[in-house]
């Protein structure tokens, strides 16, 4: 199979790419990387991702890492397949590009730290650090306040249509919605509606059930 994704089941970054592949209706082979046995630090894997992180990706001869670079590649290369994840008009796509960066620079840092503390640490029997939780809930709330304002004027973060700007949030959102951090989303009506809508997309449901 031309498209291969090297990832791990619990990894938000791997799930980000899986969500994209599902939206684009693309067939691929998922190769599980055994992180508990440090396979992601093996020389063979480092040749795929020199930072020793999942996922790594290939499409024929093309090899890539960084989930958000992989999704951009898929969204543009397979523009004619599956659902649109970008927009054609350059000015509108520039605005989508802004909110793609907002997820990466603002939502991800706080969101992923919270997901780690509240959702993932408990799975491994590790103790949640309440100071880190408090600090990052505060940061996340500031971000969600901006989202609340944006989503009161725009159906999706990037504009009128669902794009990568929304999709990139799904993996961290999935973890947070199973924790007390859910209340931060519920407290903001437009954010709440948006979060519910994007999580109910058939492609997302398929990606997390596969």
């Amino acid at each position: 199979m031309a498209i291969k994704l090297y990832g791990a089941t619990g990894s938000t970054a791997s799930l980000r790419v899986r969500a994209c592949l599902a939206e684009k209706d693309l067939d691929y082979e998922f190769v599980s990387v055994d992180m508990s046995n440090k396979e992601h630090k093996s020389p063979q894997f480092l040749s795929r991702n020199p930072f020793g992180q999942v996922p790594a990706f290939e499409d024929g001869d093309l090899k890539l890492f960084e989930s958000r670079a992989i999704t951009q590649y898929l969204a543009h290369t397979y523009a004619d397949k599956g659902n649109d994840l970008i927009v054609k008009d350059p000015k509108k796509m520039a605005v989508v590009g802004v909110w793609i960066e907002v997820e990466s620079q603002k939502f991800e840092p706080a969101g992923s730290k919270l997901a780690w503390e509240l959702a993932i640490k408990p799975i491994f029997g590790m103790t949640t650090d309440d100071t880190v939780v408090e600090e990052n809930e505060k940061k996340l709330e500031e971000v969600l306040d901006v989202y609340e304002s944006r989503l009161s004027e725009s159906k999706y973060l990037g504009g009128d249509s669902f794009t990568l700007a929304d999709l990139h949030h799904l993996p961290v959102l999935k973890y947070l919605m199973g924790t007390k951090a859910k209340r931060l989303f519920d407290a903001r009506p437009h954010v709440s509606v948006w979060a519910a809508e994007i999580q109910s997309r058939p492609a997302w449901v398929k990606a997390i059930t596969a």
Binding site: P50, F51, G97, I100
Partner: protein, 217 residues
């Protein structure tokens, strides 16, 4: 001169300088509107309308307003593909994918520790804030790991994404300039043979030298 492009923010801001160097590389004329952070101009309602997080830069071109420096750079490079430095965002989709990959590596792996170090070592003293030694040590450790990856990569590739200077290299200019020029941690970069060679090449490009002049003005 009537120009459609306006950048709002001080040139000393790493994010603002990222946009400025991109505009200069692409030979795109622009006007720079100063924003006094000391007077909290970036938190005032008029500015928040352009940048809802109250951060610099904000950017306008004709009727669109953008923020987030890397989004602005991508926009500029795509709008003016053949002008100025042509290969900045790649001339074909495969090269573009490689540039995106290293631009993401910059934003996810290089930027966090180098930003903390820049703030702690350069700006905190200027603002008369106490430096956090533990934070400095932690982030130096993280940066070293990233620079080791770069050292390896740049041993077999002239620039991060390939043979040509691209947005991926450009994005590193602001933080690295501060760390090499204004701190005692330059050796993090200069002691690594390939990183040092790469830094020397990208930092002496005329566009970046012009931005550094603007910062020191």
């Amino acid at each position: 001169m009537a120009t459609s492009v306006t950048v709002y923010g001080p040139p000393l801001s790493t994010a603002v300088s990222r946009v400025l160097v991109c505009l200069l590389e692409k030979d795109v004329p622009f006007q720079l509107v100063p924003v006094s952070m000391a007077k909290m101009e970036h938190k005032k309602p008029d500015f928040i309308k352009m940048q809802p997080f109250g951060q610099v830069p904000a950017f306008q071109d004709d009727d669109i307003t953008l923020f987030e420096s890397r989004a602005i750079c991508r926009y500029i490079a795509e709008k003016y593909p053949t002008q100025g430095t042509a290969g900045l965002y790649g001339t074909n989709p495969l090269v573009k994918a490689s540039i995106d990959q290293w631009l993401e590596a910059e934003s996810q792996s290089f930027n966090p520790p180098s930003s903390v170090l820049t703030f702690q070592l350069v700006f905190a003293p200027r603002m008369k804030l106490k430096q956090d030694e533990a934070l400095i040590k932690l982030n130096e450790g993280k940066l070293v790991k990233v620079l080791d990856v770069y050292e390896n990569r740049l041993g077999s590739s002239r620039y991060l994404a390939g043979d040509e200077f691209s947005l991926a290299d450009l994005s590193h200019l602001p933080n690295t300039q501060f760390l090499v020029d204004k701190t005692d941690r330059a050796e993090l970069f200069t002691s690594r043979k390939n990183v040092s060679r790469w830094w020397s090449e990208i930092s002496t490009r005329p566009a970046w030298k012009k931005v550094v002049e603007m910062q020191n003005a």
